[in-house]
């Protein structure tokens, strides 16, 4: 067991928080409340905390469904840090990512959805992009697939 603690010390700096969740739908709420609590501590306003919560929720849901393919024995790892007015949160799953061209994901179109010409799903990535200041997705690391989101503390 020894390596664990030392690894934690080595890898996580004093501005970094890490949460490891089992791959269970519903548990994204834990990531939401953790990130909300951290964001409040560093001074985000309530509206911005709500944006963060929705973005974290959607990234976790995608990690569980698409990344970890609902396997109950996989994990979702959420890492957050706050430095120089920048709040960073990454959500990591043990999947392969979205393939090479996530940019061609069709934009949600409510008219098409209502007319049944587009799936009612497909809103998660769209919401994340709308709500955070910056998002990088489809990053494949040695540890799996990662979505990285950035929110700036303003005002």
């Amino acid at each position: 067991m020894k390596p664990k603690n030392s690894k934690f010390v080595r890898m996580l700096d004093e501005n970094t928080i890490e949460v490891s969740l089992p791959n269970k739908l519903g548990y994204e709420r834990i990531a939401m409340s953790c990130s909300a609590s951290f964001a409040k501590i560093v001074g985000f306003l309530p509206e911005r905390v709500e944006d963060l919560k929705t973005a974290v929720s959607e990234a976790c849901l995608n990690a569980m469904e698409h990344g970890n393919l609902n396997h109950p024995d996989k994990r979702v790892l959420i890492t957050m840090d706050y430095n120089d007015h920048i709040f960073r949160v990454s959500v990591m799953d043990q999947g392969e990512g979205m393939g090479e061209t996530p940019e061609i994901l069709e934009e949600p179109d409510i008219d098409k959805k209502i007319e049944n010409l587009q799936t009612p799903r497909g809103l998660g990535m769209f919401l994340i992009k709308q709500l955070v200041d910056q998002v990088e997705y489809n990053k494949i690391t040695d540890e799996g697939h990662m979505v990285r989101m950035v929110l700036k503390l303003t005002g």
Partner: protein, 116 residues
């Protein structure tokens, strides 16, 4: 797991209110299906979705609401929304839901407007 959404149906004039207690996620589907069936059995033609301000609504839940909106459109029913926090008003706007269902601040505002 508290995946329960509770939907109670109430009538106010000719409006059927879906009183949605709890969160709106992919797990809410059967509750909305059942509520909508009951409303149709009662020949509802005006529906008001009433959420709670502290509800957690995610994209899975929004997808279910979009399906409901699609059905009400096909069936020529009017559908409106109330009880959303400012955050979810914004989200519903972003997604475009407001093109098909007007959002009201209070049940009273909704009922008055829908009665006309």
């Amino acid at each position: 797991m508290n995946h329960e959404t509770e939907i109670n149906l109430e009538k106010q004039d000719d409006i059927t209110i879906f009183d949605v207690q709890g969160d709106v996620t992919a797990f809410s589907e059967p509750f909305f299906t059942k509520a909508y069936e009951t409303a149709n059995d009662q020949a509802a033609c005006k529906i008001l979705l009433k959420f709670t301000e502290d509800a957690y609504i995610n994209s899975g839940g929004i997808a279910i609401l979009i399906q409901l909106l699609a059905q009400t459109k096909r069936n020529n029913q009017q559908i409106c929304i109330t009880g959303l926090s400012n955050h979810f008003k914004k989200i519903f706007n972003m997604v475009g839901i407001t093109k098909f269902a007007q959002i009201y601040n209070t049940v009273e505002d909704a009922v008055n407007d829908m009665a006309m």
